[in-house]
């Protein structure tokens, strides 16, 4: 008799596209099938990464993956694939690079180049079922760790060269060792799950899709440094993560992985979830700890590190979700194994959330040292509509803009900070030629002006001043000396601010000026936004030579501002035009041009 497993992706992206309905329908349909013909098992899993093409349904052992599945497809899937093992062609993934449909998602360019460590179980297990995790080797690392001496664990983590995945890249082993060195108890283990960068969702995906790996990593650390309590600080907006994590904690307690005398080792460790209040700044370690203590989420000066005086002034190890997810693998497979992945000094992998103007948006885990070009063009499939690549913003609001000259940069901590950007939590926002670089900087300053904690003058007032200047430039009120003022204030904010948020806040402004100064000058001198984003500085006109009179622009214009007979040159009436840019993107001959404040034609 054949047995088939059907995995329905119920990550947040797929859920938003009704994947839970698909799951329920599949379950219902399969319950009515006599299990004597085909034995079936339906599971809802965490995020598969390729959110763009969700909901994703995978069928094992046939290795058939369906994308963009709707409730209406369920009957056909059951009849053809589940019962007979036939492939439904139209639901297969179409790989734009290979120009064909693929039976298994594993062959898709998006997945082929990935190397999954932190995401190893996600999409393959039901996150609410601890047995699924155990079946794939879960809690084996904990069993092994409890037979080791605490120093041996720290040695192993240190030798692996694992660096903090939250952004700064501080060596994890070194952090643990210094915390273990303080003879001050109780100590605490904290998980930073307050992921707040716009466009980043790697930690969310891990907490939702494989919560046990985070728990396992934290217990191992607790044993290594001599802590008996841990906290998971998870942002309140992550409802599913909170739910799955709580369930995982409860299950782990039932099975004796958490609580008193873990696996008869005599070691006690307990975990508690703290719900974040929704402040971006609480992702900063000292603000996060203040928030757990019940105080206002403001950072403090860290001349004394939190490994010495952290939570409640006690020695504390705080690591990011993704860092924790790597720990069990390092303990189980050893530091040498881990070091073989990635580059020297930047071992292992990094999960990136690839978003913006890229064909395949989603989560991609790649070995450190993979180039930006591979990430955007091989995994991401290139730019939407094959428009020209302009830049990427890495590391969220604290990161920097990387222009196309650096497409071959190695994606690791050191290379990225060398060019003024940073790894950050791993957000990668791809921009094409229709993204205005000044507007990007303005967007981030606007975000940070509201999300700075407001404690120190430079961060609070400096960001506001930069925002005012950038807003002026995007509205056509900029002057050339504004660029110097931006640089000056940016530099002071960078050097004089209290915490990491303030120190890195000017990065989007400073890097965009460094790499795209001409675009700033175009806004200021010629009062023109080359990307057509700043509406005050944009007008559209039709190039008479290039227009073939196809009429596509006038048909698509939402306000009927374009007139012209078929096969004759078309004209845009500027008084009616709302500058939406539809004609610009629709024109097959690139005859619609972007002008400045005044019409140039």
């Amino acid at each position: 008799m054949v047995s088939r497993k059907i995995y329905v992706c119920c990550g947040t992206g797929c859920l938003a596209n009704n994947s839970y309905e698909v799951y329920l329908r599949l379950k219902e349909r399969l319950e009515n099938i006599p299990q004597t013909e085909v034995q079936t098992l339906v599971k809802s899993t965490g995020c598969n990464g390729l959110c763009e093409k969700g909901p994703v349904v995978k069928i094992y052992p046939d290795e058939i993956s369906y994308f963009k599945v709707t409730v209406d497809d369920v009957d056909e899937i059951v009849e053809k694939t589940v019962l007979k093992g036939e492939v439904i062609d139209r639901l297969l993934y179409f790989d734009t690079g290979l120009k064909k449909r693929l039976r298994s998602h594993r062959d898709a360019s998006f997945y082929k180049h990935q190397h999954k460590l932190a995401l190893r179980n996600i999409g393959e297990i039901d996150p609410t079922n601890i047995d699924d995790y155990i079946e794939r080797g879960g809690y084996k690392a904990l069993e092994k760790a409890l037979t080791m001496k605490p120093e041996e664990i720290i040695d192993e983590v240190e030798k692996s060269n694992l660096r903090g995945r939250g952004g700064a890249g501080f060596p994890t082993g070194k952090k643990w060792r210094s915390c273990a060195g303080y003879n001050d108890f109780p100590k605490y283990v904290v998980c930073n799950g307050d992921e707040g960068d716009p466009g980043a969702f790697m930690d969310r995906s891990i907490m939702e899709g494989d919560p046990n790996t985070v728990i396992e990593g934290m217990i191992i650390c607790g044993y290594a440094i001599g802590a008996h309590n841990g906290y998971l600080y998870i942002r309140d907006e992550y409802e599913l993560a909170l739910k799955n994590m709580q369930k995982a904690i409860d299950n782990a307690k039932e099975r004796g992985y958490l609580g008193k005398n873990i696996l008869n080792s005599g070691f006690d460790f307990d975990l508690e979830i703290v719900r974040g209040g929704g402040a971006f700044v609480c992702g900063e370690s000292s603000a996060l700890m203040a928030s757990i203590e019940g105080n206002v989420g403001e950072p403090r000066a860290k001349y004394i590190r939190s490994v010495e005086k952290g939570l409640w002034n006690k020695p504390t190890v705080l690591n990011n979700v993704e860092t924790w997810a790597n720990i069990p693998l390092i303990i189980l497979n050893g530091a040498e194994w881990f070091k073989k992945i990635g580059t020297e000094g930047n071992s292992g992998t990094k999960v990136f959330s690839l978003v913006g103007k890229v064909k395949n948006t989603g989560l991609a885990e790649i070995p450190m040292g993979t180039t930006l070009r591979q990430l955007v063009f091989d995994i991401g499939g290139g730019i939407i509509n094959n428009r020209p690549f302009k830049a990427v913003q890495t590391g969220g609001p604290s990161g920097g803009c990387i222009p196309k000259e650096y497409l071959d940069i190695s994606m690791d901590f050191d290379s990225l900070s060398e060019i003024g950007s940073m790894m950050g939590s791993g957000g990668v926002i791809v921009m094409d030629d229709t993204t205005c670089i000044v507007d990007v900087a303005r967007y981030y300053m606007n975000f940070l002006s509201e999300e700075s904690c407001g404690k120190c003058t430079t961060c609070r007032e400096g960001i506001k001043t930069m925002l005012d200047i950038l807003t002026n430039i995007t509205q056509g009120k900029g002057q050339l000396e504004d660029i110097d003022l931006l640089l000056r204030i940016g530099e002071t904010v960078q050097k004089a601010s209290l915490c990491g948020l303030g120190k890195s806040a000017p990065n989007p402004v400073l890097t965009t000026i460094k790499y795209f100064r001409d675009e700033y000058e175009e806004h200021i001198i010629n009062k023109r936004c080359p990307a057509g984003t700043c509406k005050n500085l944009t007008s559209y006109y039709i190039d008479h030579e290039a227009c073939i009179g196809c009429g596509i622009c006038s048909k698509n214009c939402p306000v009927d501002a374009i007139t012209g007979k078929i096969k004759e040159v078309h004209v845009i009436d500027e008084s009616k035009c709302i500058k939406c840019g539809t004609c610009f993107t629709k024109c097959p001959r690139d005859a619609v041009k972007i002008g400045g404040m005044k019409v140039e034609a």
């Binding site: 940070l448 904690c453 404690k455 007032e461 002071t492 004089a496």
Partner: protein, 231 residues
């Protein structure tokens, strides 16, 4: 910071006051610290001082940063007398286009009032909200039932941003009006009933209202008497 001020070395600081734990908010007290071969810029009010470090308080880099910080504060509070005096003292050129002369905000969010309220009063005020919307206020901006009208917050404010008026035996502060009581010696209004009770509970000493001025006199009198008795 304390060490520097004790030795008459001037490091400016708006959020620092003797007796209050350093906060690191205003950023004016930046200094350069050399420890071994490592140089870095730190805020003096929160940096734990230790033996063997070399501190420079006035490099060009630091002066320029202080200027920028004062500029930022001036753009926030252009009508504040004290900030304006700093602008003059440091000869700062103001980019007029970014100056909103109508801005009336005097508060620079140094947080001293909150600290004062914590230690002297009843923690009736706190820093609320974040980013550019941050401010000092009572819960939900209402007249706080915890406030005792002691005025410690207004006393420590470096920019006179907290409005407190004493008129006809009444004090108004933080949207609330208090009855004042008179000094039992000179008969002047000097304290709110609530603050007096609060102090009495805390100190458990004089059982009659007496203002600072008369208290000094009384203490001097006691001192004089004891001195007379000795000789």
């Amino acid at each position: 910071m304390e060490v520097a001020r004790r030795n008459n070395i001037d490091i400016p600081g708006l959020c620092y006051k003797k007796g209050v734990e350093g906060q690191g908010r205003c950023r004016l007290c930046l200094v350069e610290v050399k420890e071994g071969n490592r140089r870095r810029i730190v805020s003096a009010c929160v940096y734990p001082i230790k033996d063997g470090i070399e501190v420079t308080t006035t490099t060009d880099e630091i002066i320029n940063m202080r200027k920028d910080i004062i500029l930022m504060l001036f753009l926030r509070s252009p009508n504040n007398e004290y900030i304006s005096s700093l602008v003059k003292e440091y000869n700062i050129v103001i980019p007029e286009r970014y100056l909103d002369k109508d801005r009336k905000d005097d508060c620079i969010l140094c947080g001293l009032c909150v600290k004062a309220c914590q230690s002297m009063g009843t923690s009736a005020i706190s820093l609320v909200d974040r980013g550019i919307n941050k401010k000092v206020s009572t819960p939900y901006d209402d007249a706080s039932k915890d406030c005792i009208g002691c005025g410690a917050c207004a006393e420590v404010c470096p920019t006179n941003a907290i409005k407190m008026t004493d008129e006809n035996g009444k004090r108004t502060i933080w949207n609330r009006t208090f009855e004042l009581i008179k000094c039992s010696v000179c008969g002047e209004y000097f304290i709110t009933k609530e603050a007096y009770d609060h102090m009495e509970n805390k100190l458990d000493e004089e059982k009659r209202p007496i203002c600072d001025h008369c208290k000094k006199k009384a203490i001097a009198q006691k001192f004089k008497e004891s001195f007379v008795n000795i000789s």
